[in-house]
Protein backbone atom coordinates (compact mmCIF):
# COMPACT_ATOMS: atom_id res chain seq x y z
CA UNK A 1 0.00 0.00 0.00
CA UNK A 2 2.82 2.34 0.86
CA UNK A 3 4.65 1.71 -2.38
CA UNK A 4 1.51 2.47 -4.33
CA UNK A 5 1.02 5.65 -2.43
CA UNK A 6 4.58 6.71 -3.07
CA UNK A 7 4.25 5.87 -6.73
CA UNK A 8 1.05 7.86 -6.96
CA UNK A 9 2.49 10.79 -5.12
CA UNK A 10 5.64 10.99 -7.22
CA UNK A 11 3.79 10.64 -10.45
CA UNK A 12 1.02 13.02 -9.56
CA UNK A 13 3.61 15.66 -8.79
CA UNK A 14 5.16 15.11 -12.17
CA UNK A 15 1.78 15.12 -13.89
CA UNK A 16 0.80 18.36 -12.22
CA UNK A 17 4.10 19.92 -13.10
CA UNK A 18 3.71 18.85 -16.71
CA UNK A 19 0.23 20.31 -16.73
CA UNK A 20 1.52 23.66 -15.58
CA UNK A 21 4.32 23.62 -18.12
CA UNK A 22 1.79 22.91 -20.85
CA UNK A 23 -0.22 25.86 -19.63
CA UNK A 24 2.88 28.04 -19.79
CA UNK A 25 3.70 26.88 -23.28
CA UNK A 26 0.15 27.65 -24.32
CA UNK A 27 0.51 31.10 -22.85
CA UNK A 28 3.49 31.76 -25.07
CA UNK A 29 1.91 30.30 -28.18
CA UNK A 30 -0.38 33.29 -28.51
CA UNK A 31 2.32 35.96 -28.75
CA UNK A 32 4.34 33.61 -30.92
CA UNK A 33 1.40 33.27 -33.27
CA UNK A 34 1.88 36.87 -34.26
CA UNK A 35 5.63 36.72 -34.27
CA UNK A 36 6.15 38.28 -30.87
CA UNK A 37 9.23 36.69 -29.45
CA UNK A 38 8.33 37.38 -25.85
CA UNK A 39 10.51 36.15 -23.04
CA UNK A 40 8.40 37.99 -20.52
CA UNK A 41 5.99 35.20 -19.70
CA UNK A 42 8.14 33.88 -16.90
CA UNK A 43 7.92 37.28 -15.27
CA UNK A 44 4.16 37.34 -15.81
CA UNK A 45 3.98 33.93 -14.25
CA UNK A 46 5.88 35.36 -11.32
CA UNK A 47 3.51 38.29 -11.00
CA UNK A 48 0.59 35.92 -10.98
CA UNK A 49 2.26 33.63 -8.49
CA UNK A 50 3.21 36.34 -6.03
CA UNK A 51 -0.17 38.06 -6.26
CA UNK A 52 -2.03 34.84 -5.72
CA UNK A 53 0.23 33.74 -2.88
CA UNK A 54 0.00 37.05 -1.07
CA UNK A 55 -3.77 37.16 -1.44
CA UNK A 56 -4.05 33.68 -0.01
CA UNK A 57 -1.69 34.20 2.89
CA UNK A 58 -2.22 37.81 3.84
CA UNK A 59 -5.76 38.50 2.74
CA UNK A 60 -7.28 35.05 3.07
CA UNK A 61 -9.00 35.10 -0.23
CA UNK A 62 -10.61 31.89 -1.41
CA UNK A 63 -8.66 29.91 -3.93
CA UNK A 64 -11.07 30.37 -6.80
CA UNK A 65 -10.76 34.14 -6.47
CA UNK A 66 -7.02 34.19 -6.02
CA UNK A 67 -6.27 32.57 -9.36
CA UNK A 68 -8.07 35.03 -11.59
CA UNK A 69 -6.70 37.85 -9.48
CA UNK A 70 -3.16 36.71 -10.16
CA UNK A 71 -3.87 36.34 -13.83
CA UNK A 72 -5.46 39.75 -13.95
CA UNK A 73 -2.51 41.33 -12.19
CA UNK A 74 -0.19 39.93 -14.82
CA UNK A 75 -2.44 41.12 -17.61
CA UNK A 76 -2.64 44.60 -16.11
CA UNK A 77 1.14 44.87 -16.02
CA UNK A 78 1.33 43.66 -19.60
CA UNK A 79 -0.65 46.62 -20.86
CA UNK A 80 1.69 49.49 -20.00
CA UNK A 81 4.67 47.29 -20.86
CA UNK A 82 3.28 46.32 -24.22
CA UNK A 83 2.44 49.80 -25.37
CA UNK A 84 6.01 50.96 -25.85
CA UNK A 85 7.78 47.73 -26.59
CA UNK A 86 5.45 46.00 -29.00
CA UNK A 87 6.48 48.32 -31.75
CA UNK A 88 9.98 46.89 -31.54
CA UNK A 89 10.73 44.18 -33.96
CA UNK A 90 12.16 40.70 -33.71
CA UNK A 91 15.22 40.37 -31.60
CA UNK A 92 14.80 43.85 -30.10
CA UNK A 93 11.47 42.84 -28.65
CA UNK A 94 13.05 39.69 -27.30
CA UNK A 95 15.77 41.66 -25.58
CA UNK A 96 13.27 44.15 -24.21
CA UNK A 97 11.21 41.36 -22.69
CA UNK A 98 14.36 39.85 -21.23
CA UNK A 99 15.12 43.21 -19.67
CA UNK A 100 11.61 43.45 -18.28
CA UNK A 101 11.92 39.96 -16.87
CA UNK A 102 15.10 40.89 -15.06
CA UNK A 103 13.57 44.06 -13.64
CA UNK A 104 10.67 42.05 -12.25
CA UNK A 105 12.98 39.43 -10.83
CA UNK A 106 15.14 42.05 -9.12
CA UNK A 107 12.08 43.81 -7.74
CA UNK A 108 10.85 40.53 -6.32
CA UNK A 109 14.29 40.07 -4.82
CA UNK A 110 14.40 43.52 -3.27
CA UNK A 111 10.95 44.37 -2.09
CA UNK A 112 9.92 43.58 1.44
CA UNK A 113 6.44 42.47 0.56
CA UNK A 114 7.68 39.72 -1.72
CA UNK A 115 9.98 38.29 0.88
CA UNK A 116 13.28 38.97 -0.81
CA UNK A 117 15.49 36.10 -1.87
CA UNK A 118 13.66 33.60 0.29
CA UNK A 119 10.39 34.37 -1.41
CA UNK A 120 7.13 33.30 0.09
CA UNK A 121 7.20 30.01 1.97
CA UNK A 122 4.43 27.78 3.21
CA UNK A 123 1.81 28.55 0.65
CA UNK A 124 -1.09 26.23 1.38
CA UNK A 125 -1.25 23.47 -1.18
CA UNK A 126 -4.55 24.06 -2.84
CA UNK A 127 -3.85 23.03 -6.36
CA UNK A 128 -4.95 19.58 -7.34
CA UNK A 129 -4.93 17.91 -10.68
CA UNK A 130 -8.46 18.80 -11.58
CA UNK A 131 -7.86 22.51 -11.30
CA UNK A 132 -4.90 22.26 -13.61
CA UNK A 133 -6.87 20.06 -15.96
CA UNK A 134 -9.75 22.51 -15.91
CA UNK A 135 -7.45 25.39 -16.65
CA UNK A 136 -5.88 23.44 -19.50
CA UNK A 137 -9.25 22.59 -20.97
CA UNK A 138 -10.48 26.13 -20.71
CA UNK A 139 -7.34 27.63 -22.22
CA UNK A 140 -7.16 25.02 -24.97
CA UNK A 141 -10.75 25.67 -25.88
CA UNK A 142 -10.05 29.37 -25.94
CA UNK A 143 -7.05 28.96 -28.19
CA UNK A 144 -8.85 26.54 -30.47
CA UNK A 145 -11.65 29.03 -30.78
CA UNK A 146 -9.30 31.95 -31.37
CA UNK A 147 -7.42 30.04 -34.04
CA UNK A 148 -10.58 29.73 -36.04
CA UNK A 149 -11.86 33.19 -35.40
CA UNK A 150 -11.23 36.47 -37.08
CA UNK A 151 -8.74 37.25 -34.37
CA UNK A 152 -6.78 34.14 -35.16
CA UNK A 153 -6.76 34.90 -38.84
CA UNK A 154 -5.54 38.39 -38.10
CA UNK A 155 -2.72 36.92 -36.02
CA UNK A 156 -1.81 34.60 -38.86
CA UNK A 157 -1.80 37.48 -41.29
CA UNK A 158 0.44 39.51 -39.02
CA UNK A 159 2.78 36.60 -38.67
CA UNK A 160 3.08 36.18 -42.40
CA UNK A 161 3.66 39.79 -43.26
CA UNK A 162 2.93 42.76 -41.05
CA UNK A 163 2.96 45.28 -43.81
CA UNK A 164 0.44 43.42 -45.89
CA UNK A 165 -1.70 42.76 -42.84
CA UNK A 166 -1.91 46.40 -41.95
CA UNK A 167 -2.68 47.34 -45.51
CA UNK A 168 -5.58 44.94 -45.29
CA UNK A 169 -7.00 47.05 -42.51
CA UNK A 170 -5.81 45.02 -39.57
CA UNK A 171 -4.79 47.16 -36.64
CA UNK A 172 -1.48 45.45 -36.08
CA UNK A 173 -0.61 47.19 -32.82
CA UNK A 174 -3.97 46.45 -31.25
CA UNK A 175 -3.80 42.81 -32.23
CA UNK A 176 -0.29 42.44 -30.93
CA UNK A 177 -1.40 43.99 -27.69
CA UNK A 178 -4.28 41.53 -27.40
CA UNK A 179 -1.94 38.61 -28.04
CA UNK A 180 0.59 39.90 -25.54
CA UNK A 181 -1.92 40.58 -22.78
CA UNK A 182 -3.74 37.31 -23.32
CA UNK A 183 -0.44 35.48 -23.06
CA UNK A 184 0.33 37.35 -19.87
CA UNK A 185 -3.06 36.47 -18.40
CA UNK A 186 -2.61 32.76 -18.99
CA UNK A 187 0.95 32.87 -17.69
CA UNK A 188 -0.31 34.61 -14.57
CA UNK A 189 -2.91 31.92 -14.13
CA UNK A 190 -0.24 29.27 -14.41
CA UNK A 191 1.76 31.19 -11.82
CA UNK A 192 -1.08 31.17 -9.34
CA UNK A 193 -1.61 27.46 -9.82
CA UNK A 194 2.08 26.76 -9.55
CA UNK A 195 2.46 28.75 -6.35
CA UNK A 196 -0.19 26.70 -4.64
CA UNK A 197 1.35 23.53 -5.94
CA UNK A 198 4.94 23.97 -4.93
CA UNK A 199 4.24 25.65 -1.57
CA UNK A 200 7.12 28.03 -2.06
CA UNK A 201 8.03 30.65 -4.60
CA UNK A 202 11.16 32.69 -4.91
CA UNK A 203 12.48 35.15 -7.48
CA UNK A 204 14.82 32.59 -8.99
CA UNK A 205 11.82 30.57 -10.17
CA UNK A 206 10.75 33.25 -12.59
CA UNK A 207 13.97 34.43 -14.17
CA UNK A 208 15.67 34.14 -17.50
CA UNK A 209 16.12 30.38 -17.41
CA UNK A 210 12.42 29.89 -16.75
CA UNK A 211 11.61 32.15 -19.68
CA UNK A 212 13.93 30.13 -21.87
CA UNK A 213 12.30 26.91 -20.69
CA UNK A 214 8.88 28.18 -21.67
CA UNK A 215 10.12 29.29 -25.08
CA UNK A 216 11.69 25.92 -25.62
CA UNK A 217 8.48 24.06 -24.66
CA UNK A 218 6.55 26.15 -27.15
CA UNK A 219 9.05 25.82 -29.95
CA UNK A 220 9.74 22.12 -29.56
CA UNK A 221 6.03 21.47 -29.47
CA UNK A 222 5.58 23.71 -32.45
CA UNK A 223 3.29 26.66 -32.82
CA UNK A 224 1.58 25.47 -35.96
CA UNK A 225 -1.39 24.32 -34.00
CA UNK A 226 -2.67 25.37 -30.62
CA UNK A 227 -2.14 21.90 -29.24
CA UNK A 228 1.56 22.04 -30.02
CA UNK A 229 2.26 23.07 -26.46
CA UNK A 230 1.23 19.68 -25.19
CA UNK A 231 3.84 17.41 -26.76
CA UNK A 232 6.55 20.02 -26.32
CA UNK A 233 6.04 20.65 -22.64
CA UNK A 234 5.28 17.01 -21.93
CA UNK A 235 8.39 15.73 -23.64
CA UNK A 236 10.74 18.24 -22.08
CA UNK A 237 9.31 17.85 -18.60
CA UNK A 238 9.11 14.09 -18.53
CA UNK A 239 12.11 12.94 -20.50
CA UNK A 240 14.79 14.44 -18.25
CA UNK A 241 13.01 13.02 -15.23
CA UNK A 242 12.93 9.56 -16.74
CA UNK A 243 16.54 9.80 -17.75
CA UNK A 244 17.49 10.89 -14.28
CA UNK A 245 15.66 7.96 -12.77
CA UNK A 246 17.36 5.69 -15.25
CA UNK A 247 20.79 7.07 -14.42
CA UNK A 248 19.98 6.72 -10.75
CA UNK A 249 19.09 3.07 -11.11
CA UNK A 250 22.35 2.33 -12.81
CA UNK A 251 24.26 4.36 -10.24
CA UNK A 252 26.47 5.90 -12.86
CA UNK A 253 28.94 7.55 -10.56
CA UNK A 254 31.31 8.42 -13.30
CA UNK A 255 28.79 10.85 -14.71
CA UNK A 256 29.51 12.93 -11.69
CA UNK A 257 27.47 16.06 -11.44
CA UNK A 258 26.52 16.39 -15.08
CA UNK A 259 23.31 18.28 -15.22
CA UNK A 260 21.48 15.79 -17.39
CA UNK A 261 18.32 17.78 -17.52
CA UNK A 262 20.10 20.77 -19.02
CA UNK A 263 22.06 18.76 -21.53
CA UNK A 264 19.15 16.60 -22.62
CA UNK A 265 16.82 19.55 -22.95
CA UNK A 266 19.43 21.42 -24.93
CA UNK A 267 20.08 18.49 -27.23
CA UNK A 268 16.43 17.85 -27.92
CA UNK A 269 15.84 21.52 -28.60
CA UNK A 270 18.84 21.74 -30.90
CA UNK A 271 17.83 18.68 -32.89
CA UNK A 272 14.26 19.86 -33.20
CA UNK A 273 15.17 23.35 -34.25
CA UNK A 274 17.57 22.19 -36.94
CA UNK A 275 15.78 19.16 -38.31
CA UNK A 276 12.15 19.69 -37.36
CA UNK A 277 11.63 23.41 -37.42
CA UNK A 278 7.90 23.08 -37.20
CA UNK A 279 8.28 21.40 -33.86
CA UNK A 280 6.51 18.23 -33.01
CA UNK A 281 3.08 19.49 -33.99
CA UNK A 282 4.30 21.07 -37.20
CA UNK A 283 6.03 17.89 -38.26
CA UNK A 284 2.98 15.77 -37.48
CA UNK A 285 0.76 18.10 -39.45
CA UNK A 286 3.14 17.93 -42.39
CA UNK A 287 3.23 14.16 -42.31
CA UNK A 288 -0.51 13.94 -42.15
CA UNK A 289 -0.85 16.32 -45.03
CA UNK A 290 1.67 14.49 -47.12
CA UNK A 291 0.04 11.18 -46.51
CA UNK A 292 -3.32 12.67 -47.35
CA UNK A 293 -4.55 13.26 -50.87
CA UNK A 294 -1.35 15.14 -51.58
CA UNK A 295 -3.62 18.11 -52.08
CA UNK A 296 -3.65 21.41 -50.33
CA UNK A 297 -1.91 24.42 -51.69
CA UNK A 298 1.77 24.85 -50.94
CA UNK A 299 2.32 27.31 -48.15
CA UNK A 300 -1.27 26.73 -47.16
CA UNK A 301 -0.69 26.56 -43.46
CA UNK A 302 1.16 29.43 -41.89
CA UNK A 303 4.72 28.39 -41.03
CA UNK A 304 4.89 26.73 -37.68
CA UNK A 305 7.82 28.71 -36.37
CA UNK A 306 7.13 32.41 -36.57
CA UNK A 307 8.67 33.36 -39.86
CA UNK A 308 8.82 36.88 -41.05
CA UNK A 309 8.71 36.85 -44.84
CA UNK A 310 12.19 36.71 -46.30
CA UNK A 311 12.58 40.38 -47.11
CA UNK A 312 11.37 41.65 -43.80
CA UNK A 313 13.76 39.36 -41.98
CA UNK A 314 16.63 41.47 -43.23
CA UNK A 315 15.07 44.65 -42.04
CA UNK A 316 13.55 43.33 -38.90
CA UNK A 317 16.54 44.19 -36.79
CA UNK A 318 16.96 47.78 -37.89
Amino acid sequence: MDALEVWYRTHSVLANLTGINILLALSLSIPLSCNLLSLANAAFMGIGAYTAALLTIDANWPFWAVLPAGALAAALVAVPLGLPILRLRGVFLAIATIGFGEVIRILALSLQVTGGALGIPSIPAKTTWWQIALALLAVSYLLWHVERSRLGHAFAAIRQDELVASSLGINVTAHKMIAFVLGAFIAGLAGGLSAHLTHLISPADFGFSRAVDILVYAVVGGTGAFWGALPGAALLTLLPEWLRMLAGFQAVHRLGSFDLRQIVTGLITLLVIIFFPGGISGTLIQWRRRRGAGGGLPGDDAPATPAPAGATALHSAR
Binding site: P84, L88, G99, D259, Q262, L270
Partner: protein, 294 residues
Amino acid sequence: MLPQQVADGIVQGAVYALFAVGYALIFGLLDVLNLAHAAVLLWGALLAWWLLALLHLPLAAVFVLVVLACGSLGLALNRLAFAPLRRQASNSLRPLIAGLALAAILEGLARGAFGSARHAYPPTALVAGSSQLGTVRIDWVQLIVPAVALALLLVLRRLITSTRYGRAIRAIAENPRAAALLGVNVDTTIAWTFFLASALGGAAGVLYGLSTGGAVFSGGEPLQLRGLAIIVLGGMGSISGAVLGGFALGLLEAFSATLLAAQYRDVVPFAVLLLVLLLRPSGIGKRRAARGAW
Protein backbone atom coordinates in the same frame (compact mmCIF):
# COMPACT_ATOMS: atom_id res chain seq x y z
CA MET B 1 35.91 57.78 -3.61
CA LEU B 2 35.82 58.85 -7.19
CA PRO B 3 39.07 57.47 -8.61
CA GLN B 4 38.42 54.08 -7.07
CA GLN B 5 35.10 53.90 -8.83
CA VAL B 6 36.70 54.89 -12.08
CA ALA B 7 39.34 52.19 -11.70
CA ASP B 8 36.75 49.54 -10.88
CA GLY B 9 34.54 50.72 -13.67
CA ILE B 10 37.32 50.54 -16.20
CA VAL B 11 38.25 47.02 -15.24
CA GLN B 12 34.68 45.84 -15.31
CA GLY B 13 34.07 47.79 -18.49
CA ALA B 14 37.04 46.22 -20.23
CA VAL B 15 35.66 42.75 -19.63
CA TYR B 16 32.20 43.81 -20.73
CA ALA B 17 33.56 45.50 -23.85
CA LEU B 18 35.58 42.48 -24.95
CA PHE B 19 32.63 40.23 -24.29
CA ALA B 20 30.10 42.42 -26.09
CA VAL B 21 32.32 42.71 -29.15
CA GLY B 22 31.80 39.00 -29.71
CA TYR B 23 28.07 39.53 -30.01
CA ALA B 24 28.52 42.57 -32.21
CA LEU B 25 30.85 40.79 -34.64
CA ILE B 26 28.40 38.04 -35.36
CA PHE B 27 25.35 40.22 -35.32
CA GLY B 28 26.91 42.79 -37.58
CA LEU B 29 27.80 40.09 -40.05
CA LEU B 30 24.86 37.76 -39.91
CA ASP B 31 22.01 39.56 -38.19
CA VAL B 32 22.05 36.73 -35.71
CA LEU B 33 22.40 36.99 -31.96
CA ASN B 34 24.72 34.23 -30.82
CA LEU B 35 23.14 33.32 -27.52
CA ALA B 36 25.75 30.67 -26.87
CA HIS B 37 28.42 33.35 -26.52
CA ALA B 38 28.09 33.65 -22.76
CA ALA B 39 28.54 29.92 -22.39
CA VAL B 40 31.77 30.23 -24.34
CA LEU B 41 32.94 32.88 -21.90
CA LEU B 42 32.05 30.59 -19.03
CA TRP B 43 34.11 27.79 -20.57
CA GLY B 44 36.96 30.22 -21.06
CA ALA B 45 36.93 31.20 -17.40
CA LEU B 46 36.69 27.60 -16.23
CA LEU B 47 39.31 26.29 -18.62
CA ALA B 48 41.69 28.99 -17.45
CA TRP B 49 41.11 27.95 -13.87
CA TRP B 50 41.81 24.35 -14.74
CA LEU B 51 45.02 25.20 -16.54
CA LEU B 52 46.17 27.55 -13.80
CA ALA B 53 45.17 25.58 -10.75
CA LEU B 54 45.60 22.00 -11.82
CA LEU B 55 48.23 22.10 -14.52
CA HIS B 56 50.08 25.07 -13.06
CA LEU B 57 50.77 26.64 -16.39
CA PRO B 58 51.98 30.23 -16.58
CA LEU B 59 49.33 32.87 -17.15
CA ALA B 60 50.47 33.87 -20.62
CA ALA B 61 50.37 30.30 -21.88
CA VAL B 62 46.99 29.78 -20.29
CA PHE B 63 45.67 32.88 -21.99
CA VAL B 64 46.81 31.76 -25.42
CA LEU B 65 45.51 28.24 -24.94
CA VAL B 66 42.12 29.37 -23.73
CA VAL B 67 41.75 31.84 -26.57
CA LEU B 68 42.53 29.16 -29.12
CA ALA B 69 40.30 26.61 -27.43
CA CYS B 70 37.33 28.95 -27.26
CA GLY B 71 37.85 30.02 -30.82
CA SER B 72 37.70 26.40 -31.86
CA LEU B 73 34.57 26.01 -29.79
CA GLY B 74 33.06 28.83 -31.78
CA LEU B 75 33.99 27.09 -35.00
CA ALA B 76 32.28 23.96 -33.74
CA LEU B 77 29.14 25.86 -32.78
CA ASN B 78 28.98 27.35 -36.22
CA ARG B 79 29.46 23.98 -37.85
CA LEU B 80 26.90 22.26 -35.67
CA ALA B 81 24.09 24.74 -35.67
CA PHE B 82 24.49 28.13 -37.23
CA ALA B 83 25.80 27.08 -40.63
CA PRO B 84 23.11 24.44 -41.20
CA LEU B 85 20.45 26.92 -40.25
CA ARG B 86 21.90 29.45 -42.64
CA ARG B 87 21.79 26.90 -45.40
CA GLN B 88 18.15 26.28 -44.66
CA ALA B 89 17.45 29.98 -45.02
CA SER B 90 15.62 29.99 -41.73
CA ASN B 91 13.95 32.88 -40.05
CA SER B 92 15.49 34.89 -37.28
CA LEU B 93 13.91 32.88 -34.48
CA ARG B 94 15.63 29.57 -35.10
CA PRO B 95 19.27 30.66 -34.66
CA LEU B 96 18.25 32.37 -31.44
CA ILE B 97 16.80 29.19 -30.08
CA ALA B 98 19.69 27.14 -31.38
CA GLY B 99 22.00 29.46 -29.47
CA LEU B 100 19.99 28.95 -26.30
CA ALA B 101 20.06 25.21 -26.78
CA LEU B 102 23.81 25.20 -27.34
CA ALA B 103 24.27 27.35 -24.27
CA ALA B 104 22.30 24.86 -22.19
CA ILE B 105 24.37 21.97 -23.48
CA LEU B 106 27.63 23.80 -22.89
CA GLU B 107 26.63 24.81 -19.41
CA GLY B 108 25.49 21.33 -18.50
CA LEU B 109 28.77 19.91 -19.76
CA ALA B 110 30.70 22.51 -17.82
CA ARG B 111 28.89 21.65 -14.62
CA GLY B 112 29.69 18.04 -15.16
CA ALA B 113 33.31 18.67 -15.97
CA PHE B 114 34.10 21.23 -13.31
CA GLY B 115 31.42 21.00 -10.66
CA SER B 116 29.13 23.81 -9.65
CA ALA B 117 31.24 25.37 -6.96
CA ARG B 118 33.22 28.53 -7.36
CA HIS B 119 36.73 28.00 -8.62
CA ALA B 120 39.21 30.51 -7.29
CA TYR B 121 42.16 31.31 -9.47
CA PRO B 122 45.43 30.59 -7.72
CA PRO B 123 47.24 33.77 -6.85
CA THR B 124 50.28 34.18 -9.04
CA ALA B 125 52.91 36.82 -8.50
CA LEU B 126 51.74 38.84 -11.44
CA VAL B 127 48.15 38.91 -10.49
CA ALA B 128 48.23 39.48 -6.78
CA GLY B 129 50.40 42.56 -6.40
CA SER B 130 49.21 46.07 -5.91
CA SER B 131 50.52 49.57 -5.57
CA GLN B 132 49.34 52.75 -3.99
CA LEU B 133 48.79 55.76 -6.19
CA GLY B 134 47.78 58.63 -4.01
CA THR B 135 44.41 57.83 -2.52
CA VAL B 136 43.79 54.96 -4.85
CA ARG B 137 44.99 51.44 -4.36
CA ILE B 138 45.49 49.80 -7.68
CA ASP B 139 45.83 46.08 -7.93
CA TRP B 140 48.02 45.01 -10.78
CA VAL B 141 45.08 43.01 -12.03
CA GLN B 142 43.26 46.26 -12.55
CA LEU B 143 45.99 47.40 -14.88
CA ILE B 144 46.46 44.16 -16.74
CA VAL B 145 42.86 43.46 -17.51
CA PRO B 146 42.07 46.68 -19.34
CA ALA B 147 45.49 46.65 -20.99
CA VAL B 148 45.02 43.20 -22.41
CA ALA B 149 41.47 43.98 -23.46
CA LEU B 150 42.54 47.15 -25.23
CA ALA B 151 45.40 45.35 -26.91
CA LEU B 152 43.04 42.71 -28.24
CA LEU B 153 40.60 45.31 -29.42
CA LEU B 154 43.32 47.16 -31.25
CA VAL B 155 44.40 43.94 -32.93
CA LEU B 156 40.79 43.38 -33.90
CA ARG B 157 40.53 46.82 -35.38
CA ARG B 158 43.66 46.26 -37.41
CA LEU B 159 42.27 42.96 -38.55
CA ILE B 160 39.06 44.46 -39.75
CA THR B 161 40.37 47.55 -41.40
CA SER B 162 43.61 46.40 -42.93
CA THR B 163 43.44 42.77 -43.82
CA ARG B 164 41.86 40.79 -46.57
CA TYR B 165 39.74 38.99 -44.02
CA GLY B 166 38.57 42.32 -42.72
CA ARG B 167 37.55 43.46 -46.14
CA ALA B 168 35.75 40.19 -46.64
CA ILE B 169 33.61 40.58 -43.56
CA ARG B 170 32.84 44.15 -44.35
CA ALA B 171 31.78 43.10 -47.82
CA ILE B 172 29.58 40.33 -46.54
CA ALA B 173 28.05 42.64 -43.96
CA GLU B 174 27.03 44.98 -46.74
CA ASN B 175 25.74 42.43 -49.17
CA PRO B 176 26.47 38.71 -48.96
CA ARG B 177 25.48 37.93 -52.52
CA ALA B 178 27.58 40.68 -54.02
CA ALA B 179 30.49 39.61 -51.88
CA ALA B 180 30.14 36.06 -53.08
CA LEU B 181 30.00 37.23 -56.65
CA LEU B 182 33.18 39.16 -56.08
CA GLY B 183 34.95 36.02 -55.01
CA VAL B 184 34.67 36.22 -51.25
CA ASN B 185 34.35 32.79 -49.68
CA VAL B 186 31.36 33.61 -47.54
CA ASP B 187 31.14 30.40 -45.58
CA THR B 188 34.80 30.35 -44.64
CA THR B 189 34.76 33.98 -43.66
CA ILE B 190 31.74 33.45 -41.48
CA ALA B 191 33.38 30.44 -39.87
CA TRP B 192 36.47 32.48 -39.06
CA THR B 193 34.29 35.21 -37.63
CA PHE B 194 32.79 32.71 -35.23
CA PHE B 195 36.31 31.69 -34.33
CA LEU B 196 37.27 35.29 -33.73
CA ALA B 197 34.18 36.20 -31.76
CA SER B 198 34.45 33.14 -29.55
CA ALA B 199 38.19 33.61 -29.10
CA LEU B 200 37.48 37.10 -27.82
CA GLY B 201 34.78 35.62 -25.63
CA GLY B 202 37.28 33.19 -24.20
CA ALA B 203 39.73 36.01 -23.59
CA ALA B 204 36.97 37.91 -21.85
CA GLY B 205 36.38 34.82 -19.75
CA VAL B 206 39.97 34.69 -18.58
CA LEU B 207 39.97 38.40 -17.81
CA TYR B 208 36.65 38.02 -16.04
CA GLY B 209 38.12 35.27 -13.92
CA LEU B 210 41.17 37.36 -13.17
CA SER B 211 39.16 40.42 -12.23
CA THR B 212 36.75 38.60 -9.97
CA GLY B 213 39.27 36.16 -8.58
CA GLY B 214 37.67 33.05 -9.94
CA ALA B 215 35.11 31.39 -12.16
CA VAL B 216 31.63 30.82 -10.90
CA PHE B 217 28.57 29.47 -12.66
CA SER B 218 26.22 32.07 -11.40
CA GLY B 219 28.26 34.64 -13.25
CA GLY B 220 27.18 33.33 -16.62
CA GLU B 221 23.63 34.53 -16.70
CA PRO B 222 24.16 38.09 -15.48
CA LEU B 223 26.98 38.47 -17.98
CA GLN B 224 24.85 37.17 -20.79
CA LEU B 225 22.13 39.64 -20.02
CA ARG B 226 24.54 42.50 -19.58
CA GLY B 227 26.13 41.63 -22.88
CA LEU B 228 22.76 42.03 -24.53
CA ALA B 229 22.17 45.30 -22.77
CA ILE B 230 25.53 46.54 -23.97
CA ILE B 231 25.09 45.79 -27.60
CA VAL B 232 21.69 47.38 -27.57
CA LEU B 233 23.22 50.41 -25.94
CA GLY B 234 26.01 50.58 -28.44
CA GLY B 235 24.00 49.72 -31.51
CA MET B 236 23.50 46.14 -32.44
CA GLY B 237 26.04 45.43 -35.11
CA SER B 238 28.57 48.03 -34.19
CA ILE B 239 31.87 46.96 -32.70
CA SER B 240 32.93 50.39 -31.57
CA GLY B 241 29.49 50.78 -30.07
CA ALA B 242 29.97 47.55 -28.16
CA VAL B 243 33.28 48.78 -26.81
CA LEU B 244 31.90 52.15 -25.79
CA GLY B 245 28.81 50.58 -24.38
CA GLY B 246 30.85 48.07 -22.41
CA PHE B 247 32.98 50.70 -20.76
CA ALA B 248 29.96 52.92 -20.23
CA LEU B 249 28.09 50.16 -18.45
CA GLY B 250 31.13 49.24 -16.40
CA LEU B 251 31.53 52.78 -15.17
CA LEU B 252 27.81 53.18 -14.64
CA GLU B 253 27.67 50.09 -12.50
CA ALA B 254 30.74 51.09 -10.52
CA PHE B 255 29.23 54.44 -9.67
CA SER B 256 25.78 53.12 -8.93
CA ALA B 257 27.36 50.73 -6.43
CA THR B 258 27.89 53.68 -4.15
CA LEU B 259 24.63 55.42 -4.89
CA LEU B 260 22.15 52.57 -4.78
CA ALA B 261 21.53 49.72 -2.41
CA ALA B 262 23.20 46.52 -3.50
CA GLN B 263 20.21 44.72 -4.91
CA TYR B 264 18.93 47.68 -6.85
CA ARG B 265 22.29 48.05 -8.49
CA ASP B 266 21.47 45.09 -10.67
CA VAL B 267 18.53 46.92 -12.14
CA VAL B 268 20.82 49.50 -13.71
CA PRO B 269 21.80 47.65 -16.89
CA PHE B 270 18.25 46.63 -17.55
CA ALA B 271 16.77 49.98 -16.84
CA VAL B 272 19.32 51.43 -19.25
CA LEU B 273 18.46 48.72 -21.74
CA LEU B 274 14.76 49.44 -21.64
CA LEU B 275 15.35 53.16 -21.87
CA VAL B 276 17.58 52.78 -24.90
CA LEU B 277 15.14 50.47 -26.62
CA LEU B 278 12.31 52.85 -26.05
CA LEU B 279 14.04 56.07 -26.90
CA ARG B 280 16.76 55.21 -29.36
CA PRO B 281 16.71 51.60 -30.45
CA SER B 282 19.58 52.10 -32.81
CA GLY B 283 21.92 52.68 -29.91
CA ILE B 284 24.13 55.52 -28.80
CA GLY B 285 26.45 55.36 -31.77
CA LYS B 286 25.84 57.48 -34.81
CA ARG B 287 23.06 56.15 -36.95
CA ARG B 288 25.12 54.20 -39.33
CA ALA B 289 24.32 52.32 -42.50
CA ALA B 290 22.46 49.05 -42.13
CA ARG B 291 25.55 47.02 -41.50
CA GLY B 292 29.13 47.98 -41.03
CA ALA B 293 31.88 46.53 -38.92
CA TRP B 294 33.08 49.80 -37.44
